[in-house]
């Protein structure tokens, strides 16, 4: 089923320069992650850092360094106040926009919950979009032990990033903590969370920047990331040797970040990206994809891409992004999706699937789309309180289950 794409080798992808990608690290965590991206692969010209703290910028190897500063801060940074850094970023909006100019995709990296990233990221995402690029954010949520103040700041920031960016990949640090050994030092755990996010950035970058015979379109990626209401789960694995494809499939299905494959069970969208040398065989692609497909039965969409890289001879790298409960999101993002697409639960034709997504992305701002009305069917919901006087609060009937009124999904 992949043959049309294999035959149709698009000359533009091999000959033309890479799509212009910029990676911006925001704040201390974001800056650290961007600095850690290896030099041969990531040219320093694609990297940028944005911070309110001059000392953090000084050590960075990124070519673009934007120091947000005004007199009020007195060189002390944002002091953990996202509102302050947000105002600051708005002040420097033109600078941020200029930095994003010319890029097709802007990847934003940061750790939420502190002052800088929580405030700047949403503004930067907007700046990137206004300059004509797609904005994809990779964010870390704080550990539970960092206190609920940080957690709340982070959630608020995540919400505003979801609104302003095209796609968000969110990694709760607590998840990593659960995967590590009890006696791991703090420094190592923080390093591990950065590494996970870095792998994610690299995986996505690979998909876009090193397109192969089956390229993943950026629009697909954005549609996948933006329409998930819950967080995305992503995992990165590599294997080598004669049985590499089998090893790889095993590794990814047992990957802790995918909750040992359970994230795939519930995933609405799955994106699979393979990278290998020129020795990649079709059977290998088939095996890996098959294994993932078996696991993610409920997935409505599966996007597969492969990339060729002469450097990783003998190795097979795999990035999987699964977005949970995209069904609600799908309705928002793709109002005009064709019926034949939804009827087949797993489609492996990214081309065909991508068309409506692209149009929908363009017309997302268009509010006038028609939505099928739904009759309120809450006959059972009040059962116990049917006969008593309803408890009304600002027009809401509190007797109806809260999760029902808030529209929270149950799995």
């Amino acid at each position: 089923m992949e043959t049309p794409h294999l035959l149709k080798m698009e000359p533009g992808n091999n000959g033309s320069p890479l799509p212009a990608i910029r990676i911006f690290g925001v704040g201390r965590a974001g800056g650290g992650i961007v600095n850690g991206l290896e030099s041969p692969e990531f040219d320093s010209s694609v990297l940028g850092v944005v911070d309110t703290d001059a000392s953090a910028l000084a050590g960075s190897r990124a070519s673009v360094k934007i120091h947000l500063e005004n007199k009020l801060l007195r060189g002390l940074g944002s002091g953990g106040d996202p509102e302050r850094s947000r105002v600051l970023a708005e002040e420097h909006f033109a600078t941020l926009k200029a930095a994003c100019a010319g890029a097709r995709v802007v990847l934003l990296v940061g750790g939420l919950g502190g002052g800088a990233a929580s405030g700047i990221l949403p503004v930067l995402a907007r700046a990137a979009k206004e300059s004509g690029a797609l904005a994809l954010a990779f964010v870390l949520l704080p550990f539970d032990c960092e206190g609920n103040q940080r957690a709340q700041l982070a959630l608020a920031a995540l919400k505003s990033i979801r609104e302003s960016a095209d796609g968000v990949v969110c990694l709760p640090s607590q998840k990593i903590f659960k995967l590590t050994d009890e006696n791991t030092p703090v420094l190592e755990i923080f390093e591990a969370t950065s590494r996970f996010l870095r792998e994610g950035v690299r995986g996505v970058w690979q998909m876009i920047a090193q397109p192969g015979v089956m390229p993943v379109r950026i629009e697909d990626l954005c549609a996948l990331l933006s329409c998930s209401h819950a967080e995305c789960a992503f995992a990165f694995a590599e294997a080598s040797g004669p049985a590499r494809s089998r090893d790889l499939a095993e590794k990814i299905l047992l990957h802790p970040m995918l909750e040992e494959g359970r994230a795939l069970d519930e995933a609405g969208w799955v994106l699979v990206s393979l990278k290998a040398g020129r020795d990649l065989t079709m059977a290998e692609v088939n095996r890996v994809v098959d294994e993932i497909k078996k696991r993610s039965k409920s997935a409505q969409k599966m996007i597969v891409g492969t990339a060729m890289d002469a450097a990783c001879k003998g190795q097979l790298c795999l990035t999987v992004i699964a977005s949970r409960d995209a069904r609600d999101g799908l309705r928002d993002a793709i109002p005009a999706i064709k019926v034949e697409n939804t009827q087949t639960p797993v489609t492996l034709e990214p081309r065909q699937a991508a068309e409506p997504i692209l149009t929908s992305l363009k017309s997302r701002g268009n509010k006038s789309r028609q939505v099928q009305g739904q009759l309120p069917l809450n006959i059972v919901a009040k059962s116990r309180f049917d006969k008593s006087e309803p408890t009304l609060y600002q027009g809401e009937d509190l007797d109806v289950p809260t999760y029902f009124r808030r529209g929270a999904p149950l799995n």
């Binding site: 609920n148 059962s383 116990r384 006969k387 408890t391 509190l398 289950p401 999760y403 029902f404 808030r406």
Partner: protein, 408 residues
């Protein structure tokens, strides 16, 4: 006469249970709990009586149990009331001191309190409490007893709790049917707060949230006085109903699950764990997801707290509550509820513990009994002050717990 005063009984006609607590006042005025009786409540929804006959039967059962345990005869009770129809507001009374030397006398204090109590209630409402907060002397705050001080303008703030007369009468009638006298009616929230908050916490500023079966009552103390009270006709019953609806299981099973597997926070570890429900023969019948169970519960409980918080924010009280929030009521048994309360209220949360009362420790430790124990405590305070006032002629303290009852 003395015998009669010694025994104090409180009755709470709650949504999930009817609870009678009997206390005994000793010679020094110390209070100890000597009897507890409870019965499952069948005729009450959201804190209000819906089936008087059934409720009366349950009340009799609870009374009988309490009398048997305490080995006394209950003649009169302090009755707790609650329900969504209760309203509260704060009223200010002003009085200009007319005497030549501007010294404030007992009469001036009585006058200003009388002025503060001159309130316009809706026609079908009657007063439950008028609680004195603080005096203001020429605009100066922090005056607790102005008698003997000099000043021109004396003001006082009163917190007024009132409710629909007919609905209050329903509860009173019900208790009278059982050949008992109702000494006073007391707002459940006020009673619970008396039971669980100590003097220091009240002085520091504290919030008491009693999440019961059908209603949630909350009382905020600032500077030692009740500053604000409120009721929300949402409680543990709603949690069970949500679960029954969301997990598609019978209500009784939902109630069981709430108690056995309930948790007030989302994302508590494993998302995919399932619980098997078994039929009465022990055969597995259905599986429900623990994750769903927790999300449904958490969302409801979170909403309850958020509504309370929103109300307090509207009153501008949040920053005065330095001692934090204290939870009681049956729903406060749910695991993780303290963490949830801390998240929502952004202040330290703890389980309210009954203080300053001796007696049956098994009863004192239960969060469900806080209201009924508080009623007894209210009764003891009320009796103590009335005794004192009859001796000294000071009726001022009595105003704190004034009785506006027996008007039917």
């Amino acid at each position: 006469m003395f015998e009669e005063n010694k025994i104090i009984a409180g009755i709470e006609i709650g949504t999930s249970k009817i609870c009678v607590v009997v206390g005994e006042l000793d010679h020094q005025g110390g209070l100890s709990i000597i009897g507890v009786g409870q019965a499952r409540s069948r005729g009450v929804r959201k804190g209000e009586i819906t089936n008087a006959q059934q409720a009366e039967e349950d009340v009799r059962n609870a009374l009988y149990e309490a009398e048997k345990m305490a080995d006394v005869e209950i003649r009169s009770v302090f009755l707790g009331v609650s329900g969504g129809h209760l309203r509260s507001f704060t009223n200010r009374g002003v009085h200009t001191v007319v005497s030549a030397d501007r010294e404030i006398t007992e009469d001036d204090v009585q006058d200003v309190i009388k002025n503060a109590k001159a309130i316009n209630l809706p026609a079908d409402h009657s007063l439950i409490h008028a609680i004195r907060q603080h005096f203001y002397l020429d605009g100066r705050t922090g005056v607790t007893n102005p008698v003997g001080m000099l000043g021109q303008r004396l003001e006082v703030e009163m917190h007024v709790v009132h409710g629909q007369s007919t609905r209050l009468q329903n509860a009173i009638r019900l208790v009278r049917e059982t050949q008992l006298d109702v000494e006073e009616i007391v707002f459940n929230g006020v009673a619970s707060s008396l039971a669980v908050l100590n003097h220091e916490q009240k002085e520091l500023g504290a919030l008491m949230v009693d999440v019961g079966g059908g209603t949630t009552e909350y009382v905020a103390y600032v500077d030692g006085a009740i500053r604000y009270t409120g009721v929300l006709a949402v409680g543990g019953d709603h949690v069970s109903n949500d679960l029954a609806y969301g997990l598609k299981i019978p209500l009784s099973r939902a109630e069981q699950l709430k108690k056995s597997h309930g948790f007030a926070l989302q994302n508590s570890g494993n998302n995919h764990e399932m619980i098997s429900l078994s039929s009465e023969f022990g055969l597995p019948t259905k599986q429900v997801s623990l994750h769903n169970l927790h999300s449904i519960m958490s969302m409801r409980l979170e909403e309850i707290f958020e509504l309370v918080m929103a109300d307090l924010e509207r009153q501008g009280l949040v920053r005065f509550l330095r001692a934090g929030v204290f939870l009681c009521g049956g729903t406060s048994r749910v695991e993780g509820i303290l963490a949830l309360a801390e998240n929502v209220f952004q202040m330290s949360a703890s389980k309210g513990e009954t203080t300053g009362i001796s007696g049956l420790t098994s009863a004192l430790e239960q969060p469900e009994f806080a209201t009924a124990i508080g009623l007894v405590k209210y009764g003891s305070l009320s009796k103590r002050t009335s005794k004192k006032s009859s001796k000294t002629g000071i009726t001022l303290v009595r105003e704190m717990f004034n009785k506006v009852l027996q008007r039917s």
